[in-house]
């Protein structure tokens, strides 16, 4: 029972990291991209390759994951510089599908659809994080670090420029801010932080395959931010807790695995739709402005 609770804790922590990093992009910068699972996946795969193929220590893998995911995320910024709104949604979905295809088909590196087992547990300075309790603590440390880091970013002058771009790009540009540069940087930061969740996930489950990083996963991360409240970091933590714990209710009834997976998706979808109707600003709304009634 305790180890199950600790498992839920690690899962929640992973979604906290994904939620706060994604919130930075869609909530604060207003860049509506739906491809966060791709960066989650890039983090997981890079970390796996560094650990298994190169045999380097965990922290180097984590660092490599962050760097590669930041660069890949920076590439997605290019379509985002040209278009926004609905176009960006489609461009990012396309990006998500391409990355998924890379995971599936670049078999020599990613292991293809069968995935890669036997990823070692994270080790720090000769100490291997093995017990459920230690994993819970380490993942919590990473989640808190990600939260504080993103909090620092959004409350900095850089964060103010992000919100200014969301409200009015032209005015921000007229004020002499480098809108293009800021957009590229925010994509890179968001992708880089998401990669730490990917690295944690790969070394926690010790097995990854492409199906963990699908479009559906991106939509789940979107739900975490929307349900919690876009533009509110504490909201993303709440969203991560709600969306990790809610499907656990399904465990109370005995269901075949395939059916349970579909039901989980249905719960997420219904929740998302309900929030769009009754509370589009999420559980915890951003203090100053809400999503409703504006472009």
């Amino acid at each position: 029972m305790i180890s199950f609770l600790l498992h839920l804790l690690v899962l929640t922590n992973i979604y906290v990291i994904l939620g706060v990093s994604y919130n930075l992009l869609i909530g604060y910068a207003g860049l509506f991209s739906i491809a966060h699972a791709a960066f989650f996946g890039v983090g997981a795969y890079v970390s796996m390759v560094v650990a298994l193929s190169l045999g380097w220590p965990y922290l180097l893998g984590l660092a490599a994951a962050v760097v590669v995911a930041a660069v890949v995320s920076g590439v997605l910024a290019f379509p985002a510089l040209r278009v926004s709104g609905d176009y960006l949604v489609i461009a990012s979905l396309g990006f998500q599908v391409i990355i998924f295809n890379v995971f599936m088909n670049w078999e020599s590196v990613t292991g293809g659809p069968a995935g890669v087992p036997g990823i070692p547990r994270p080790g720090v300075l000769g100490w291997t994080v093995e017990s459920p309790l230690a994993l819970g603590v380490v993942s919590s440390v990473m989640a808190v670090a990600a939260y504080l880091f993103v909090r620092r970013v959004v409350s900095s002058p850089f964060g103010r420029v992000l919100r200014a771009i969301r409200e009015d790009e032209v005015v921000t540009q007229a004020l002499g801010k480098n809108v293009t540069g800021v957009k590229v940087v925010v994509f890179m930061v968001s992708g880089g932080v998401a990669a730490t969740a990917g690295s944690l996930f790969a070394h926690y489950t010790t097995y990854i395959n492409p199906y963990f990083f699908t479009l559906e996963e991106s939509i789940l991360i979107l739900s975490v931010v929307i349900v919690g409240g876009a533009g509110n970091l504490t909201g993303s933590v709440v969203g991560a807790v709600v969306l990790t714990l809610l499907p656990q209710a399904l465990r109370l009834v005995e269901l075949p695995e395939a059916l349970a997976a579909n039901l989980r998706q249905i719960i997420y979808a219904a929740l998302l739709a309900a929030f769009m109707f009754f509370r589009p600003q999420g559980i915890l709304a951003e203090r100053t402005l809400t999503l409703t009634g504006k472009d």
Partner: protein, 294 residues
């Protein structure tokens, strides 16, 4: 050379089906400015409705298809009335509408997966399609039927848009929303008509895909994405422009097989899209994207 021609022809067939989907999606988008992801839900349902009629109830296709068209038209219109209209009344932002639409798509596909299972079901049953050699390439009957059906549907849509009362209002709203409202266009009713027409248009596409490759409960997501790409490549704001956009995607997907391998087919469609967005965001026939609005 023969292989290249064959792939080109296969690309045209696939592109024609994508075109049907894309034109419906584009019709709805240009008129209502709603990014209607749930179009994929109606499309997926269409295939399974026809499957239930022909395989479970053993009705002929000639009965199943018109019935499915009715059901999908009503369903598509129902989504407009039950989801989009209330959201419009609340002045929800386009992104709120988009997320709502996306969740309808997920909801519908997972429900269908529960009812029909995750395995691929073919509408063709045990029928093997006959084929013949046309010069260097191999042509099957279903491929010819596909091209003919798509041609007829495009023609009908074109006539509807040009001559019918609602077709004219749809074009007016798509061209200039505010001006059309000022001269008395009833937006709510026209939107409803648009969604019904879009819903009817998915049925032939779903049936053809069901025969060519089979039905999958989650096929709607990639279908609606391809439709959206075709609309962007064709140019937003041009209703029929989506058709050549779809053709281009179908052909590039198939030509990709020539040089790369089949697994990368899907990625190629999206790569085409990203290239268009970076280098020519207006597409083939679109109006200039206005970046600044005062």
């Amino acid at each position: 050379m023969a292989l290249l021609l064959q792939l080109l022809f296969n690309g045209v067939v696939v592109g024609a089906v994508y075109g049907l989907l894309a034109v419906g999606f584009g019709l709805i988008f240009t008129t209502t400015r709603i990014f209607h992801f749930a179009h994929g839900a109606v499309y997926t349902l269409a295939g399974y409705v026809v499957y239930s009629f022909t395989n479970t109830l053993e009705w002929p296709l000639a009965v199943a298809i018109p019935l499915a068209m009715g059901i999908c038209g009503v369903l598509s219109g129902g989504i407009e009335v039950a989801i989009y209209r209330p959201l419009r009344a609340r002045k929800a932002s386009p992104l709120v509408v988009l997320i709502a639409s996306l969740s309808i798509l997920m909801l519908a596909q997972n429900l269908l997966a529960i009812f029909y299972g995750n395995e691929i079901r073919s509408l063709a049953g045990a029928v093997v399609f006959s084929g013949f050699e046309a010069g260097p390439i191999w042509v099957t009957s279903i491929q010819l039927v596909t091209i003919a059906t798509c041609g007829v549907m495009f023609g009908l849509l074109k006539l509807f848009l040009r001559y019918s009362r609602y077709g004219k209002i749809i074009r007016a709203l798509a061209n200039n929303y505010e001006a059309a409202r000022i001269i008395g266009a009833d937006a709510d009713r026209t939107f409803l008509v648009t969604f019904v027409v879009g819903g009817i248009l998915v049925v032939p596409a779903a049936v053809l895909v069901g025969m060519l490759t089979g039905l999958k409960p989650f096929g709607g997501t990639s279908a609606v994405l391809v439709a959206a790409i075709a609309v962007i490549v064709g140019g937003m704001g041009s209703i029929m422009g989506a058709a050549p956009g779809a053709l281009l995607i179908g052909i590039s997907e198939n030509l990709a097989v020539w040089r790369i391998s089949t697994e990368w087919q899907t990625a190629v469609a999206f790569a085409v899209l990203l290239l268009f967005i970076v280098f020519k965001p207006t597409g083939f026939f679109g109006q200039r994207v206005r970046k600044m609005e005062v």
